[in-house]
């Protein structure tokens, strides 16, 4: 057995990229079904960060099923043919009946303009509840989660974004096989029990974000900013779609996107790559390749007109100013990140929980410190996979009667200055140093590294992490002036002004 494994070492492709004078070594394996396995051995405690990423997120949805990528992520914890059930066949028969009843309910409730026949609906609802009760004894609650926890799983979670979905667990080094078994099982054999009560859970999750002050406005701002591309809706989805999406939608979604050729598994920690590679072959390799997945079709068309939005509610008065920019990997992305850095990227640092912006960015120095117009002011560049956004955010000094419109003028003044003069050599060098240091820090945390490299692999490949650092190194002041002039124009902008209204 050992000899075979040694042979396998030679079969793993090993590659490293160099950035900031540092090598990032990644062992790569592509299974015959198209699934990619990335391995980054790292000395330290005997644990392994095990993440699985699928190239699917809310941008793969369409009106009618918005939020399904995220609901599906929840459903991935609800069992398989093997897990979460005592008698699969018996349970499946009941589960089909539940779907039939719910189908009748949905057709009455959501298809008919009068909301359906109340008496009939009440009867069906009763039937549904009885079926659910009779299914309960067959269900083993959260078996996957329990197995992971019983075996010392930490960082146990999953998350859905606009572009990707990840499933996370960190295990003791001797138990990685458990992850391979469970993750390959749920990719191939997911079975969506308790679908309807889980939709209720997700609707509660949506209500939670609705109750976060300002979030409803931000959802509208986002929808207005992205008119055509599927970044238009939030990951959580619209409430109507959460209510009306069906089990059939869920199954179709799973079969389309949860295929090995749309997936990357990444391992970071203390392990033997050859042994791990063999294990990956055994578990993930047994899943048949799926159909090719088409990338999204609709990018953002040019805006051609300025957009403005006004809102009121229970959150602090503030300004957002957004511009469309190109996606990751575009030649202008690096110069835009330098602009964001010079103006005050990231936010948050230097002032607790207020998104205050770095104390060395121009916006902080001018708007917050010297003119005392703002409590906080920040800028960030988010290229994303297909369409990007550059965003300014600022909170006015209400005690000095500053209005969001005053901040808007002040930010435009800073932007015009950059169009004309660019930034200083020191600011460019600072941005370069920070991007290099950030790259090195990202290598420090096993979990952070798994997230960055795993997600990057789905889009432009893990090597793009270093490409981006190199691209920033090449940015000149002419690039800065050029991108500022190209993207920071009214016809490409959305200005959102929010005012606190105490009476709501």
């Amino acid at each position: 057995m050992k000899r075979f494994l040694t042979v396998l070492v030679l079969l793993l492709a090993s590659a490293s990229i160099l950035a900031a004078g540092l090598a990032l070594d990644v062992k790569e394996l592509v299974l015959s079904n198209g699934m990619k396995i990335l391995m980054i051995p790292k000395a330290g405690v005997p644990r392994v960060v095990c993440h699985v990423y699928y190239k699917v997120g809310s941008i793969n949805e369409r009106p009618g099923i918005t939020g399904i990528a995220h609901v599906h992520e929840h459903m991935m914890f609800k069992g398989t043919r093997m897990l979460g059930v005592t008698d699969f066949d018996k349970d499946a028969a009941l589960d089909r009946k539940i779907d039939e009843v719910m189908d009748k309910i949905y057709r009455d409730k959501y298809w008919k303009s009068d909301g359906g026949d109340k008496t009939r609906l009440a009867q069906w609802q009763k039937d549904y509840e009885e079926l659910v009760q009779s299914e309960k004894p067959l269900i083993v609650k959260d078996e996957l989660w329990t197995l992971y926890m019983r075996n010392g799983g930490t960082g146990l979670n999953a998350s859905t974004g606009n572009e990707s979905t990840g499933y996370y667990v960190t295990l003791p080094s001797n138990k990685v096989e458990l992850q391979m078994l469970l993750e390959s099982d749920r990719m191939a054999n997911a079975y969506f029990r308790e679908f309807y009560s889980e939709k209720d859970v997700v609707m509660e999750e949506r209500r939670l974000s609705e109750n976060s002050p300002g979030s409803l406005f931000n959802e509208q701002v986002n929808a207005a900013f992205y008119a055509a591309s599927p970044y238009h809706w939030d990951v959580i989805g619209w409430m109507d779609d959460l209510r009306k999406m069906t089990k059939a939608d869920m199954v179709e979604f799973h079969d389309t996107y949860y295929v090995p050729n749309n997936c990357v598994a990444i391992y970071v920690g203390s392990f033997d790559p050859a042994a791990l590679g063999a294990m990956a072959e055994k578990y993930f390799g047994r899943i048949p390749r799926g159909k090719d997945v088409e990338p999204i079709r609709t990018f953002e068309p040019p805006q051609y007109s300025e957009k403005r939005m006004y809102g009121q509610g229970p959150a602090p008065t503030g300004l957002q100013l957004m511009f469309h920019i190109p996606p990751e990997g575009h030649p202008d992305a690096a110069a835009l990140s330098v602009v964001a850095d010079a103006l005050g990227a990231g936010g948050g640092r230097g002032f607790r929980g207020m998104g205050g912006g770095s104390g060395t960015g121009r916006l902080y120095k001018t708007l917050v410190r010297d003119k005392e117009l703002a409590v906080s002011a920040s800028a960030s560049s988010r290229p994303q996979w297909y369409v990007g956004a550059f965003q300014f955010s600022a909170t006015p000094r209400v005690d000095k009667n500053v209005l969001p419109e005053d901040l808007e003028k002040a930010i435009w003044a800073e932007v015009e200055k950059i169009k004309k003069e660019g930034v200083t050599p020191d600011e460019i060098q600072k941005a370069k140093n920070r991007s290099e240091a950030m790259f090195i820090r990202a290598l420090d945390s096993a979990m952070g590294l798994a997230m960055r490299a795993g997600r990057a692999e789905l889009n432009r490949g893990w090597r793009s992490l270093a490409d981006d650092v190199e691209a920033v190194k090449k940015v000149s002041n002419d690039d800065v002036k050029r991108v500022a002039a190209k993207y920071f124009v009214k016809d490409n902008s959305l200005t959102a002004i929010y005012t606190r209204m105490m009476g709501r």
Binding site: M149, L156, D200, E204, T360, R434, S435, R500
Partner: protein, 488 residues
Amino acid sequence: MKKTLTLFAALSLLVVSFGLAQVEKPSDLKFSPLSYEPPNPQAFRMTFANGLRGYIQEDRGLPLVNISAVVNFGKLAVARDKAGLESILGDTLIKGGTKTREGSAVEERIDFLGGSLDFRVGERTSTLSLSVLSRDLDEGLALFFDVLMHPEFRENAVNLAKRRLTEQLRQANDAPSMVLAREYEKLLYGDHPLTWQATKKTYDAVLPGDLKAVHGRYFFPKNTILTASGDFSKADLKAKINKFAASWPNQSPAPQSWSKTFPAVEPGVHFIQKAINQGYISLGHLGLEDTDPDYYAVQVMNFILGGGSFTSRITTKVRSNEGLSYNQGSRFTYRWGFPGTFAGYVQTKSATVGYAISLILNEFDRIRKEPVSDAEMETAVNFYLESFSDAFQSPQATMATFANLEMTGKPMDYYKTYRQKIKVVTKAMVQEAARKYIHPDRAAVLIVGDWEPCNAGSDKFAGPLDKFGAVRRITLIDPLTGEPAKTR
């Protein structure tokens, strides 16, 4: 390249079928044994000039150095009429500059180097943290110690911080989760330094001289523990640190003490009105200190009750069975020198507030009355044993953990003996812990939500909410003035 890899993959599949047995279900998996011993704090402990202590670990993997200073000063040491001084200190230790450097010059330089310098004040400790590339260690250390030893709290920086923090007060009643957290502590601890809140007046009362006085009184070598990890040699780093520490004036730490008497909580419902579509709920009472011998049994008990996420009873009942909520469970919080809090918590749509509370109270009751199952015990105990090494994944976090043990006076073999203490917890001890630390009859039920629909309830659990005891309405404080807020 890609084609070759596919071929390799096909080959390795052959290897696999010979090499590894096929496993179809988790119970068939056999894991090789793995032993792990936690690092010994003594191996990292160092002393420097002037009695400055530290926990230092070389970690040559990346060209990075992380250094922190943990100082025995926090919010609890601030006088009531200057409540919030800690936030101003937090913002101005760096921004206020040093005797020889403007605050902006310190920030500019650290940023230029791609480093970070951050200062945070907590309840009883403050932490200054530096992260730089190892090639910038000398310059980083000079800035770090200058800020730590010689802050100047220049007036313009202090005034700006005060005005920004005052503006921030306007948001104090915005987020229901923030309101719930703050008011739950006020309910349980009453009028105590733990719950004092800053207002515009108390911020205004803080002068640069107050910040200097606090710095002079608490920031000295014997009141500080360093932590460092990264790309350096211990001997070199020691020599470098000693140069700074030698000129840092010392004192003897003065004992700090606070009242540990808290008012009896009024059981029943405490309601805060907010026009939102869910009720945000915490229900419970004070808990215990983590130095209590019962701590381990309580950990296991709470894991089963509502701390072990999806494996716990509250999550199963409230979320998984009923679909009532996204976030629910129970937690014991811990704080240095005081009993922490115990709470069952949930956020659910207004109509199901009463139902969710009733389900949680049932679980409080059940874990007191019935022994937990063998399977529940096994999952909980194994989780703590098998995930133990996770705490030591990051060298810098490990050093901080050790510094924290020493700062709070916990035994230095805390981690060495931890797993043994979990292992000996029995079902009887779990039930005993539940009976001792969970009291549904004494629980305060705090709800932030919309009164009418919350009180009305739903088919499954009709209102009114006074089924859970007398209802008291809490009027929020206007955060700017500290006076009762006008109705919203």
